[in-house]
């Protein structure tokens, strides 16, 4: 009996099949991910509120209105948004067991994500050069904390995407491949959705 291929395929099916056997008929993994994302809402909520409270507390010449580069951030926001599209295409390819396209879209998603993080690094350094350090003002501390947390989330997402590609390439996802891609997808979209909020509340609405 050929070992490898049947193993992975079998597991894909197994995943979905077994999922129906839980009391709710829902997959444990997916439910756990949604619960986690619900919890994350309170984490980002707290960070956003802290920023909101402190966004006006800065020296007159180093506040949000002076420092933000809206066109630049708009572009990077757009890139992150589009990475959600490529992510959903990866999920869709994975559910059709198309490994090649799954990997392609996962890679593109990771690249777009990396571009976003790169943009953030660029943004932080240019702010820093303009004199906005982490401890410069309440505004700067809360700004860096909020966007930094988001950046870390994106970075973790990129690592997960790359790990997925790597594992995928070696045919090593232990079962439920499509579902794992979907889980990473949920996380990725969530991070994107948080940025949708940050982009509006932090960047577009002046303080």
């Amino acid at each position: 009996m050929a070992v490898h291929t049947p193993v992975t395929d079998g597991h894909d099916d197994h995943g979905h099949g077994a999922a129906h056997a839980t009391s709710t008929g829902l997959s444990n993994n997916k439910m756990a991910m949604w619960l986690f994302l619900g919890s994350e809402c309170l984490l980002f909520g707290g960070l956003i509120s802290t920023y909101m409270l402190y966004r006006g507390r800065h020296p007159a010449d180093l506040g949000p209105d002076q420092i933000y580069d809206i066109p630049f951030t708009s572009v990077s926001s757009f890139i992150l948004l589009m990475s959600s599209l490529t992510m959903v295409l990866a999920v869709s390819a994975a559910s059709m067991k198309d490994d090649r396209r799954t990997n392609l879209w996962l890679t593109i998603t990771a690249l777009l994500g990396a571009t976003f993080v790169g943009g953030q690094v660029y943004e932080f350094t240019s702010f820093y050069r303009e004199g906005l350090g982490f401890t410069s003002s309440l505004f700067s501390s809360s700004f860096y904390t909020l966007t930094g947390f988001h950046g870390v989330h994106v970075t973790v997402g990129i690592i997960m995407l790359m790990a997925l590609v790597g594992i995928n390439k070696r045919g090593r996802i232990p079962g439920q491949k499509a579902e794992v891609v979907e889980l990473v997808g949920l996380y990725w979209h969530f991070v994107d959705v948080v940025w949708i909020i940050i982009f509006t509340l932090v960047y577009l609405i002046p303080s």
Partner: protein
């Protein structure tokens, strides 16, 4: 489909041929061979068995109960007389901070996790939790965080800002030792345990119930655990934010709470109490759940108004989110906020009162068996009611401004926490001991344990109402004779009473430890417990004492709330007469006769403990040496990759139950 199987224990279950074998895979894709030891320390350290983890949670939190108790005794010793000199002012601050931190985060919460871990799968008819490795990870995070926080005692002093760590008092300026850094980072680590535990238990409860067990047929303890996990799920991230801000402030020079930099220190208070008030229900609801199991068993009546108890529990959980600012009435919130939060706080007494009524009605007309577990449960009703009433007195904002920061508050929360949570946990110890350890604890020592604890707690915390209303502040290292007042309200007298009470309380707790020793010492003559020592009602009792590694030979099908009771007894609907139709032994034998053939249990793993213990390394790094952060992070990364590459589902072998027979409950793939 490939499968790698290797029997861990030659588990022979049931009798004769066709007995199920417990199967544990030895290794799959992982880097290391999986641990497979079924005995010895390895079988504990690498275990993913919810029962072993539950016991470990219990042992560690019991230890911290003693530590926290010791700290409390020092505090009471200091306050026993005027101008106490037992502790220096600094040490006194550390003592009350660490007492509260230990009791809340290292005793009550993990002890609740101990019960939840051990009992929830048994109560819902599952063979483990949904994510066994994450479960193990949670326990090790708790232990790692607990040890981390307490090493601060030896590394320059413990946290000294009070358990709520108010700002700006907790800034490096006013608290230059590393204590608060240890506190903040350590709570982050134990917080991971709470969060992962919450996700895990919610999924377990929603997804892994035995066939037929609808939500409204679920044992009430499991229900309360479900509510608590939702509270944890949403409350932990809030304290996480607060603790990060604290760390950035103390370690990296941010000024989030620094008034001189224009900050609002109230930011901290809000974040802390948005977490903190749900937290008090996280603390007390396990006790509520336990007594809601214990009372019906020993009153020999079903729980009165099961639905009301469920819904009031959920309501408490929900309303508990809208009252946090009652901890801040004296902080200058403004009249509108104060009014709103004052009314909301009074509302929360309603669902709480509903529960008290339900418990009382459960007792009403019951044939009460005053076992030790029952005594603790009744004790909870009485003592918690007192705490709830004083709570309502400070829900009224004007009266609270008199009470806040005095010993009156200390009286309130000890009646709620000790009288509500801790007595509940003790009821649980006595009730479930035979289930978990196979023997009953001594009832006569138990009575001593109970009465000394009750007398001790009332003598300790009762006088605090008087002391507080007389104006003695909390968190003050001493009081003076000159200002102690006269007659009945003399502070000195009541302080002495409280200190004596605390000693009695300690003796009461000692009786518990003695009881364990007497029951389990090698020469103990305590016989093995009967299968169903209390004539219990719920599913966990349809297992051996202690349960087999896989809990159930066959997953029972549930037809009713109090399934076990209804299998034992038939109730005549017209006369209400109850007749016994089957013994526990017969019921269990019937279940075992249908044993599933292949029971695949989740496999042990090295990664949870490695991952968890990498975190305190990072913590020390933040405080002492940034290189350690990198070292810890490498550990984390290594463990995560090892984890990801090692399927918890070593192929089919993780599916529970197995290939055939019974219902199919999916165990997680990533967990």
């Amino acid at each position: 489909m490939a499968i790698i199987e290797r029997p861990s224990t030659p588990a022979v279950v049931g009798a004769g041929a066709g007995a199920p074998a417990v199967v544990t895979p030895s290794q799959a894709y992982g880097v290391l061979r999986r641990p497979v030891a079924a005995t010895g320390w390895r079988s504990w350290v690498f275990t993913v068995d919810h029962k072993k983890l539950g016991i470990m949670y219990g042992v560690v939190s019991l230890f911290f109960f003693l530590v926290g108790g010791f700290e409390a005794l020092l505090i009471r010793l200091q306050l026993a007389g005027p101008e106490g000199t037992v502790l220096s002012a600094g040490l006194y601050n550390e003592m009350f901070t660490m007492h509260a931190t230990t009791m809340v985060f290292l005793f009550v919460m993990p002890m609740a996790a101990a019960f939840a871990n051990y009992l929830v799968p048994l109560q819902i008819g599952a063979r483990d939790v949904a994510f066994p490795r994450i479960n193990a990870f949670g326990f090790w995070c708790f232990l790692a965080g607990a040890i981390f926080i307490n090493t601060s005692w030896f590394l320059g002093g413990a946290a000294d800002g009070g358990w709520f760590m108010y700002q700006p008092n907790a800034n490096a300026l006013f608290s230059p030792s590393h204590g608060i850094d240890f506190w903040g980072l350590g709570l982050q680590i134990t917080g991971i345990a709470s969060l992962t535990g919450a996700v895990n238990l919610i999924v377990t409860i929603l997804n892994m119930r035995a066939p037929g067990m609808s939500l409204m047929k679920m044992p009430i303890f499991t229900w309360m655990i479900l509510v608590i996990q939702f509270l944890l799920l949403f409350a932990m991230p809030v304290i996480t934010v607060a603790l990060f801000l604290l760390m950035f402030q103390r370690e990296f020079g941010a000024t989030f709470f620094d008034v001189s930099a224009g900050a609002d220190p109230l930011l901290w208070q809000h974040l802390f109490w948005i977490f903190g008030h749900p937290e008090v229900y996280i603390i007390v609801l396990p006790g509520f759940g336990i007594v809601s199991e214990v009372l019906p068993v020993f009153a020999r009546k079903p729980l009165f108004g099961y639905r009301f108890v469920v819904f009031s529990g959920a309501a408490i959980g929900f309303v508990g989110w809208g009252v946090w600012a009652h901890h801040m009435f004296a902080s200058g919130l403004g009249p509108v906020s104060v009014a709103v939060f004052s009314v909301a706080t009074m509302l929360i007494a309603i669902p709480t009162g509903v529960k008290i009524v339900n418990w009382t009605m459960t007792l009403w007309g019951g044939k009460i068996w005053f076992s030790t577990a029952m005594l603790f449960a009744i004790g909870l009703i009485v003592e918690f009611t007192i705490g709830g009433l004083s709570g309502v007195t400070h829900a009224v904002a004007p009266s609270d401004t008199q009470q806040t920061d005095t010993y009156y508050i200390v009286a309130h929360f000890h009646y709620t926490i000790f009288g509500g949570a801790v007595l509940g946990l003790f009821a649980g110890f006595y009730y479930w001991w035979p289930k978990i350890f196979g023997k009953r604890l001594s009832e006569s020592l138990g009575k001593w344990n109970f009465w000394l604890m009750i007398i001790g707690m009332n003598l300790t915390f009762g006088p605090m109402h008087i002391i507080g209303l007389q104006g003695q502040p909390r968190r003050m290292m001493n009081w003076t004779e000159a200002r102690a007042g006269e007659g009945f309200f003399n502070l000195g007298f009541w302080n002495r009473v409280a200190s004596v009470g605390s000693l009695i309380l300690a003796v009461g707790v000692a009786f518990f430890i003695v009881n364990i020793w007497v029951t389990h010492r090698p020469s103990s003559k305590t016989p093995k417990s009967e299968l169903d020592p209390w004539d219990a009602r719920s599913l966990e009792w349809i297992t051996q004492n202690p349960p087999k590694e896989h809990n159930f030979d066959s997953i029972p099908t549930v037809h009713a709330l109090d399934e076990f009771f209804h299998r034992k007894y038939e109730v005549d609907h017209d006369t209400g007469e109850v007749t016994k139709v089957a013994s526990a032994e017969e019921i269990l034998a019937a279940e075992e006769a249908k044993a599933d053939h292949h029971i695949h249990l989740p496999s042990p793993s090295y990664w949870p403990i490695i991952l968890a213990f990498s975190l305190p390394v990072m913590g020390y790094g933040v405080i002492f040496n940034r290189f350690l952060i990198v070292a810890g992070a490498l550990g984390v990364l290594l463990a995560m990759f090892g984890w990801a590459l090692e399927p918890s589902v070593a192929d089919d072998s993780d599916y529970d139950p197995p290939a055939e027979g019974g219902s199919n409950k999916e165990l997680a793939t990533i967990g």
